[in-house]
Amino acid sequence: MAAIVEELISIRPKPSDGWNVERIRKDFPVLRQTVNGKPLVYLDNAASSQVPVMVIERGAQYIEQEHSNIHRGVHYLSMRATTAYEGAREKVKRFINARDVKECIFVRGATEGVNLVMHGYGRKFIGEGDEIIISALEHHANIVPWQMLCEERGAKLRVIPMNDAGELLMDEYQALLNERTKFVAVTHVSNALGSVVPVRDVIESAHKYGAPVLIDGAQWAPHARIDVQDLDCDFYTFSGHKIFAPTGSGVVYGKADLLEKMNPFQGGGDMIKSVTFEKTIYADLPNKFEAGTPAIASQIGLGAAIDYLNIIGREKAAAYEHQLLSYATERISALEGVRIIGTAREKLGVLSFTIDGVHPHDIGTILDQQGIAVRAGHHCAQPVMKRFNLPATARASFAFYNTTEEIDQLINAIEKVIEVFV
């Protein structure tokens, strides 16, 4: 089916030097509220980011005016819904610079993206004695599926270790690679520490052994440009709800030739050409991997979120976020008894910390009382916590709508925590 492309919004960043954060904040209704009597300071963006009006309105438009199923109706509403849905796919294609829209599979989020590749590729091509390499920085979403596969197939999971700063030891990675390496799956940015992984090197080295590489881009996608052709990754996945779209949206990119030879993920409607009780012929890409009715409003919202990012200017947003992270790092480092966990040279968006003698949950509760949302816990990365001998950390994570004043409030609140506990 030829994708009918929804009219793309003109994507010209406004020519202004500074970052007008006050104007940007007006786009995010959530930020206007108070929590426990204080203005909300939302610093849990690595868990889920907020949704701008433009995205909310696009989702609402589908529900109000286009609500119907896609790819199934000859009637007006269904055609409009299909156009909008496939239009979002076209936007994703440009967003990640895929060669073709058929390489962009819509999924529920990064977790489903990894699972799709594990089932579709792993269960077909990985067998006994084969090795899969992941890293010490992974989110559980990029550990557990591969463990399940290894258990089922008698394959072996190898893990690239990291240093005390939270940087992967690339020499150790080289040493792990061998003829038995059949797959490599690594994160682009650690959600627990913020470390940026040199994925280009990871990919290049794996390819020398013919092993395909999946990049978990859940924490990279909100902050920086993705070019899957330039990276030459075989698979790339991210979640919509971390890049200013609603929950239930997400993408897994795969090179067409790999996706073609993979098994489907789930079976059902929409992923078939024909079904008889004797045999089913699967649909062409991308539908082969999209069984059943997807989260249509959310995926259309993801398309709108990409438009939004293009309008505000991704480079400028990234530069501003970089300033926020540096500022927060500098201020937190100056606090006595507070330790930053994860000091990689290259970091994005995330600042994990602990306070001597205070459990992160108590930090989280006291911050929340002051309207400040941070994550306290193991961040679905228990092996990372174990590596640092910690049960948990507190984590502040930033988006381009956060302000330096909010970071000042965070610092004041941390001082309050120390006051309560000391």
């Binding site: 205070v358 949950h361 108590d362 509760t365 309560v420 506990f421």
Partner: protein
């Protein structure tokens, strides 16, 4: 900040810093491990039970101030009590922190444990306060491990 000072009262902060009965009990004849996978809080409860009486109680583990203080004060509260009395206090404690028992109006055996009443204003912290109690219950009923997510 008033709700906060309700939660983090001096006594709680003190038990967090200097937990009582914080050791492995060599004479234990029952024990259980409690785990809260959401927070990573983990603790072991050790019991020396004789003729239905909790002769001695201790705990070990790591967790937030609420879970640690709760475990510490629990060991003091149930030491010397019968199995049934301990279970009764657990029930009252559980109802108090989930807002189903008004400790000021209704008769109860909670004593100093009413200091945890403030937890009811922090629903996500209820599991922290009750982890030790659930684990005690498991030890009394010969379940080796419990998780707050089951």
């Amino acid at each position: 900040m008033s709700e906060l000072s309700e939660l983090y009262q001096q006594v709680i902060l003190d038990h967090n810093k200097k937990p009582r009965n914080f050791r492995k009990l060599e004479t234990a004849n029952r024990s259980a491990e409690g785990y809260n996978p959401l927070c990573g809080d983990q603790l072991n409860i050790y019991l020396q039970v004789e003729d239905d009486q909790l002769k001695d109680v201790s705990f070990e583990g790591s967790g937030c101030a609420i879970s640690k203080a709760s475990a510490s004060m629990m060991t003091q509260a149930v030491k010397g009590k019968s199995k049934q009395e301990a279970e009764l206090i657990f029930d009252e404690f559980h109802r108090m922190v989930t807002g189903r028992l008004n400790e000021e109006k209704e008769p109860n055996q909670l004593g100093r444990l009413t200091i945890f009443a403030g937890v009811r204003d922090f629903p996500v912290r209820v599991k922290c306060a009750t982890l030790a109690w659930h684990t005690l219950h498991a030890a009394l009923n010969n379940q080796p491990t419990i998780s707050t997510e089951n």
